[in-house]
Amino acid sequence: MTSTLPPTTTETTRRVDRAGRERPDERGSLALLAHQIRYEQLSFWRNPQSMVFTFVLPIVIISVFGAVFAGSEGEDFFFGLSGLQYYTPTIAAVSVLGACYGQLAIVLAMRRQTGVLKRLHATPLPAWVYFAGLLVHCVVVSVVDVALVIGIGRLYGVPWPADWLALALTLVLGAASFCALGVGVASLIRNSEAAPAVVQFIQFPLVFISGSYFPIHSDVMNNIAGLLPVKPFNDAMLAPFAHQGGFQWKELAVLAAWGVVGALIAVRSFRWDPRPE
C-alpha cells in the first residue's frame, strides 16, 4: 500500500467546502435517489446468476405451460378462457411475486448477514432512499418479467391485454405491495441461511391456493384466498386479459392493504445489524 498525500492546497479548500456544506439535504433528495437507483441497477445487471434466475424461470414456466395447453379453446375449467389465456397473466403474476417478495426478502437477509446493510446504515444515505431504490429496481424487473411472459403468451396465440392501463396500475401496485411484504418478511428472518426456506414456506402454499398453477373452483377456498395477497393480484392481472373490464378496485384495495401490513412490520422491526442487541 503506498500513500500519496493530497497536496495541501486541495486539503484546505476541501475543509472549507465541508464547513460550507454541512447539510446533506442541499444536493436534493431526487438526485440522491437517482444515484442510488443507478447503482442498485448496476449491481443487479452485473450479477449473471440473479439475472438468469429472475428472467429465465418465468420464461421456462410459461413455455412449458404453453406447450402443454396450446390449442385448448375456451373451457369451463378455465372460467371460459383458453388455458394460455388463464396462465399468461397468472404466471406473469407469479414472476412479479418472485421478483419482489421472494428475491427482495432473500437479498435483504443476505445483505444484512454479510454486513452490507450495517455499513450502509453508517453512511448518511436516508433509509427511504435505499428502499425506494430497491422498489424501483423491483418494478423494473417486474415489468421485464411481465413483458417476457406476455410476449411468449402472444407467440402461443394469447391476445394482447384489452386494458394496458389497468395492467400497468395492477403491476406497479402489486410490485410495491409485494416489496413491502418482502421487506416485512426480511425483518422477521433471523439468519440468511433460513431465508429461502422461510420465503418458500409462505409463498408456495399461497401460490397454490390462489389458483396460480391451476384454477380453483371451491368457493370456500376462493373466499379465503381472496383475503390473502396473491389471489387478488392474480384476479387483477387476469381481468385485462379476460376482456371483463380493466380495474379491479376491490382486489387492488386488498392488495394495497397487505402492502401496508408489510410496510408496518418493516418499519417496526427492520434491522440493519446482523447481530441483534
Binding site: L5, P24, Q36, L42, R46, G115, P124, P126, R275
Partner: protein, 332 residues
C-alpha cells in the same frame, strides 16, 4: 477540542455488564488506540460511539453530538467514517464504482480517484470487487471509510491479517490522514501498532478502563526499571556477578536497574576482567506489550472463570478471534 467524550458509559447484555463505567476522551486531530482483550467491551464501546448500539447509561459525545440520538443521526453519519472488521462490499461492482457509489451518499466527499490512490488500488480501479484479494478488499474498505471526508474515523482492528509490508503501508495511510486533520479512533490487538501509530492509548479490561496515557508512559512504563539480560558466563555463579540478578531462565539471568548505564559498566568491566564475554546481552525497557499484559492478565483470569462473558452474547467475536490468529486469511 474534544472529538469524542465518554463518561460513565454503561452497557448490559441481559445480566452481563459488558461495559461498566468507561471514561475517556479523544482530542481532535489525534490517533487514539483503544486496547483490550476479546470480550473486554472494546467493540461494544466502539459500536455505541458509531451509533449502532444503545447505551444503558453514561454520557457520550461524538463531534459534539449524541450518537444515540436518531433524529440527529444523519448529520453525524456524514462526518464520521468507519472501517469494520467484516468486509461488506457488493461483489459485482468495480472498485471505482463501489467508491463512487458511496461518495454520492456524502454531502462533501473526497475525490474518488484521489482516494483510490490514497489506499493504493490504482491498478485495481476497474477490477470487480469479487476478484480482489483479501488485503485489497480491506484497502477498499478503508477507501469507503474515508470517501466521505470524515472528521472522525473509526478503525476496528485495521491491519488484522495484513502482511508486514501491507501493515506499514496502512500505517502510513493512517498517519497521513491524521496529518491532514482527521481524528482517528482505532482498536488493535497489536501493541507494536499502537506504539507506532497512537498519540494516546487506553486499555480496557472487563468493561473498565484500567489505564490511559501515551504509549510511552502508560502504566508507569517510563518510570519502570530497565531489564538487563545475559547468559551467565561459563564457570561463574550467580553470586559472582557484581550486580544483583535473578535466577537463570532459558539460560539467561536478569538484572533490573532504574538507570542501566552504571550497572552495565560494572557488568562489562567484570566480564572483561574475567576474559569471558556476556553472551546474548540485551537491555530493554518494558514494551507496551509487557505493560498491556500486566494490566490485562488479572482481568483475563477473572473473565475466564466467569460464566457470562461478552463472548456469549456476541457470537461473532469468537469467530473474529479465530480469524485474528490466522493472518492472511479472509472470510471471502
Amino acid at each position: 477540542m474534544t472529538a469524542v467524550a465518554v463518561e460513565g458509559l454503561l452497557k448490559k447484555y441481559g445480566d452481563h455488564e459488558a461495559v461498566r463505567g468507561v471514561d475517556f476522551a479523544v482530542e481532535e486531530g489525534e490517533i487514539f488506540a483503544l486496547l483490550g482483550p476479546n470480550g473486554a467491551g472494546k467493540t461494544t464501546t466502539m459500536e455505541i460511539l458509531e451509533g449502532f448500539r444503545h447505551r444503558d447509561g453514561g454520557d457520550v459525545r461524538v463531534l459534539g453530538r449524541d450518537p444515540g440520538d436518531k433524529t440527529d443521526g444523519r448529520r453525524l453519519r456524514g462526518q464520521i467514517g468507519l472501517v469494520l472488521q467484516d468486509i461488506a462490499v457488493e461483489p459485482y461492482l468495480s472498485v471505482r464504482e463501489t467508491i463512487a457509489r458511496n461518495a454520492g451518499y456524502y454531502p462533501a466527499p473526497r475525490d474518488v480517484d484521489e482516494v483510490i490512490g490514497l489506499v493504493g488500488l490504482e491498478e485495481k480501479r476497474d477490477a470487480k470487487v469479487k476478484d480482489l484479494s483479501g488485503g485489497q478488499k480491506r484497502r477498499l474498505d478503508l477507501a469507503l471509510g474515508v470517501i466521505g471526508d470524515p472528521k472522525l474515523l473509526f478503525l476496528d482492528e485495521p491491519t488484522t491479517g495484513f502482511d508486514p509490508g501491507a501493515r506499514r503501508g496502512a500505517w502510513e495511510v493512517v498517519r497521513s490522514l491524521r496529518d491532514a486533520g482527521t481524528t482517528i479512533l482505532l482498536t488493535t490487538h497489536y501493541m507494536d501498532e499502537a506504539q507506532a501509530l497512537a498519540d494516546s492509548v487506553a486499555v480496557i479490561a472487563a468493561g473498565r478502563i484500567v489505564a490511559a496515557g501515551t504509549p510511552d508512559t502508560i502504566g508507569g512504563r517510563d518510570s519502570a526499571l530497565a531489564r538487563i539480560r545475559f547468559a551467565l558466563p561459563a564457570g561463574a555463579a550467580i553470586d559472582d556477578v557484581p550486580v544483583q540478578v535473578s535466577d537463570a531462565e532459558d539460560g539467561l539471568v536478569t538484572a533490573e536497574a532504574e538507570e542501566p548505564t552504571a550497572a552495565l559498566h560494572r557488568l562489562t568491566s567484570w566480564a572483561l576482567d574475567r576474559g569471558t564475554p556476556l553472551e546474548r546481552l540485551t537491555v530493554e525497557q518494558p514494551t507496551l506489550e509487557d505493560v498491556y499484559l500486566g494490566l490485562t492478565s488479572s482481568y483475563a483470569q477473572q473473565e475466564a472463570s466467569s460464566p457470562s462473558t461478552e463472548r456469549g452474547s456476541t457470537p461473532s467475536s469468537a469467530a473474529r478471534a479465530r480469524r485474528g490468529r490466522r493472518p492472511g486469511r479472509s472470510r471471502r
